[in-house]
């Protein structure tokens, strides 16, 4: 959809809503229903990014992966920060979604669910993430494979998902949608048999994982195929050394993650290479979208993939996340060195096995490769960093896990807010789904919600929750005090909860207290507008 089409559709929606025949309006009113309203321009603008993704895929999909078609048939579910949900192209939108009249994306209908919309402001630039889910069912009851995307405002610098120093750009969203559509293409075609890796690095793993990433990057940069093959032997040996800490299942899970996320990330890298070669004409411009430059800096974006690989290599927390970069570059190397590699992936072989099979290492070579990994790479530096990281992380875990006393939990799930995007994580350590703050938590502000800094070792957990333990609770007469307007359902409006560890303000919250736990559920992040008075027609 170009700018004029978008404007035309927006105008059409407004016209349709304003000019509904009187008889229809009366009928709707009599039935107690309301005609679905047009979507806000910021939301319609977001949907047009999907149009650009389709346009890019029309030019690149078959070149990215032979046989990749059908991407326009996959529905999208967009979830905005104000809880507005928009479905594009769903064959059977479930209640309470309603078709938005006169609006289409890629020729497919759009439906909206406004049933839980809050007063949170939705304004550009929106960024986000998501993945494929089954959402709703077709008329025959079959679950519908749908791309689910959550879009929100940029977050605290240093928080999870914050893009330091990178200006926001729509190109990243186009590539994100392409990535998720590739996941949908994988279904039934590229299906590793193992689940997701759930593994924290120990010092050996962290060391060899970093060296392995460096070897992969050197292979990618190698000037000729022979040099690339030598570096890939080093990658294979480093991976084997790294995997001595893992059991068979974990090894297979890591390779499976490389396939799942690596091929989808590679799809975006390949798309950029095709764009750079002149294989794509943007359908929208900066005039339509100030954050879009039509991939004018494709070169720079391609370069950023290799930079990300090096950063990923040096990062010891959450090894699963390396699969995006490590998997992507295994694909890129396989494309260069192993003809027919994509068919092998479709037959169930992970890229690391494909590369190791195509570039065998002789008996004598293995020891030589390990010697080079220790001498030609910054092995000692990597080892020192890994030991320091794992030592500090494990100490943080033990300091927090050993705290006994009353537990305080702040629950942001009712407002669907990932907690790790809200505060800088300086000095924090990730362990599984925990983020450990051994020196205390900096607190956050989210619209009208404020959590004060917390000065004791504490953690976040399970995406939505902050947790702290008061080790002196047995000396206190009260677990907390609360000020605010108590509601009939037991919640509080305009509430301030004061505990010995922190103060929390929220427009609406509920406190669930048990013998040794105080759970504070944040129910709203902005004040709700007072209910409209007077009668509706």
């Amino acid at each position: 959809m170009n700018a004029s089409t978008r404007r035309r559709l927006t105008a059409l929606q407004a016209t349709l809503v304003a000019a509904l025949p009187a008889a229809l309006a009366v009928a709707l009113s009599a039935a107690g229903a309301q005609p679905p309203a047009a979507l806000p321009p910021v939301v319609v603008g977001e949907l047009t990014v999907l149009e650009e993704t389709y346009r890019l895929l029309d030019s690149t999909a078959e070149k990215i992966w032979p046989g990749w078609t059908g991407y326009r048939d996959v529905p999208f579910l967009f979830e905005f920060e104000n809880r507005l949900r928009v479905l594009v192209g769903h064959p059977n939108p479930p209640a309470p979604f309603q078709i938005v009249p006169g609006l289409a994306v890629g020729g497919r209908s759009v439906a909206a669910d406004r049933s839980a919309v809050t007063g949170v402001k939705v304004k550009p630039f929106l960024s986000g993430g998501g993945g494929p889910i089954n959402f709703g069912a077709a008329a025959d009851g079959t679950p519908v494979n749908t791309v689910h995307i959550s879009l929100g405002s940029p977050r605290a610098p240093g928080g999870e998902g914050a893009e330091a120093a990178e200006p926001p750009r729509t190109e990243e969203k186009v590539l994100m949608y392409l990535h998720e559509l590739f996941h949908c293409f994988q279904r039934g075609r590229i299906q590793p048999r193992f689940g997701n890796l759930r593994f924290n690095a120990d010092a050996d793993f962290a060391t060899w994982s970093q060296i392995e990433g460096f070897a992969l990057e050197r292979a990618y940069r190698a000037a000729d195929p022979a040099a690339a093959r030598e570096r890939m032997k080093e990658f294979t040996v480093a991976r084997a050394l790294k995997r001595q800490s893992m059991n068979d299942t974990q090894r297979n899970e890591e390779s499976a993650d490389d396939v799942r996320e690596g091929t989808a990330t590679y799809a975006t890298l390949r798309a950029l290479e095709i764009i750079r070669a002149g294989g794509f004409k943007p359908g929208r411009s900066g005039a339509d979208d100030p954050y879009y430059r039509g991939f004018a800096d494709a070169d720079r974006m391609i370069a950023s993939y290799a930079e990300r690989l090096l950063k990923s290599a040096a990062k010891h927390e959450d090894p699963k996340m390396k699969c995006y970069d490590y998997g992507c570059f295994q694909c890129a190397l396989a494309e260069r060195l192993v003809p027919g590699w994509q068919q092998q992936v479709e037959q169930g072989k992970p890229m690391d096995a494909i590369l190791a099979g195509a570039i065998p290492i002789g008996e004598g070579e293995r020891a030589d490769a390990e010697r080079r990994l220790r001498s030609d790479y910054p092995f000692e530096e990597a080892r020192g960093g890994a030991l320091a990281f794992t030592g500090a992380r494990d100490a943080a875990y033990r300091a927090i896990a050993s705290r006994e006393g009353r537990v305080y939990i702040v629950d942001l799930k009712p407002v669907r807010q990932f907690i790790n995007t809200l505060a800088p994580r300086t000095g924090a350590y990730v362990l599984g789904l925990l983020t450990l703050f051994p020196a205390g938590y900096p607190g956050f502000t989210l619209d009208a919600v404020e959590l004060s800094p917390v000065k004791i070792p504490c953690n976040t957990d399970q995406l939505y929750y902050f947790r702290a333990v008061d080790t002196e609770s047995n000396t206190r007469s009260q677990a907390y005090t609360v000020a605010g307007q108590r509601q009939a359902d037991g919640s509080y409006a305009d509430a301030v909860v004061t505990t010995p560890l922190f103060t929390l303000r929220a427009p609406k919250l509920r406190i669930v207290e048990s013998a040794n736990r105080v759970k504070i559920q944040v129910l709203a992040r902005v004040k709700q507008a007072p209910a409209a008075t007077g009668s509706r027609p």
Partner: protein
């Protein structure tokens, strides 16, 4: 005369030779409601002394406590995998909450809700699969999750050694829910659970609803081979 009455009659009539207790058969229907779609499955379950089998579509699981193994088979593929099971009554070691002996390579991943339960009889009664049942309602609160469960505690079939409880609660989401139901049944004099609804607000995912109900319940002799793998099946793995 129903099969059940016949069994009661036979049990009362003959004292010698001691006939083995009848096997138990149930057809269990379950629903999983998630993200605006409902997945329905029907399972056929048989249990005998020290053995049970459950078939769901082309998947078959046979538990042989007498042999210390569980086989999981694909009827479509003609293959199976085997794992050994711990001797009965041997409980797993409790988790190390203080973190002194935790395997740091896997720490922080496996949070499982441990609900604090409030369980009450609702006063409702009903008949499920021919058995008289009383409803219980429970609410549970955990650090990062909440659950509301209703379940029906029912009169057992007389003369049957096995009960269907494990097979019924297996469809529910969390261990804490299953444990709470089984403990309540014990307090109710060994009642059987023949239906349950669990609504869970999990830590990360959107609301999930699990419903399970026994459609058919009968005592009798399992068909020959019910607790054995078909001989042509091939074992997976090394």
């Amino acid at each position: 005369m129903t099969l059940e009455l016949l069994l009661v009659y036979l049990a009362g009539t003959f004292t010698w030779p001691a006939s083995p207790p009848p096997d138990l058969h149930a057809v269990i229907r379950s629903e999983f409601v998630y993200m605006a779609s409902t997945r329905t499955t029907t399972s056929e379950w048989w249990a005998s002394d020290g053995k049970s089998t459950i078939r769901q579509g082309d998947r078959l699981s046979i538990t042989r406590e007498d042999l210390g193994v569980v086989w999981r088979a694909s009827l479509k593929e003609g293959t199976y995998s085997e794992r050994t099971i711990a001797p009965a009554g041997q409980a797993a070691a409790p988790p190390d909450a203080a973190g002194a002996n935790v395997d740091m390579r896997t720490a922080g991943y496996d949070w499982e809700p441990s609900y604090e339960w409030s369980v009450k009889a609702s006063g409702q009664s009903s008949t499920i699969a021919g058995r008289a049942c009383r409803e219980f309602v429970a609410t549970g609160d955990a650090d990062y999750a909440e659950a509301r469960v209703s379940f029906w505690a029912c009169d057992p079939l007389p003369g049957v050694v096995r009960n269907p409880n494990d097979a019924v609660v297996a469809s529910l989401a969390s261990r804490s829910v299953r444990r709470m139901i089984l403990e309540t049944l014990t307090k109710q004099g060994g009642a059987w659970v023949l239906a349950a609804d669990e609504q869970q607000e999990p830590a990360i995912a959107p609301t999930m609803v699990m419903r399970v109900r026994v459609e058919t319940l009968e005592a009798g002799a399992a068909p020959a081979g019910t607790f054995d793998l078909p001989p042509s099946f091939k074992k997976l793995g090394r």
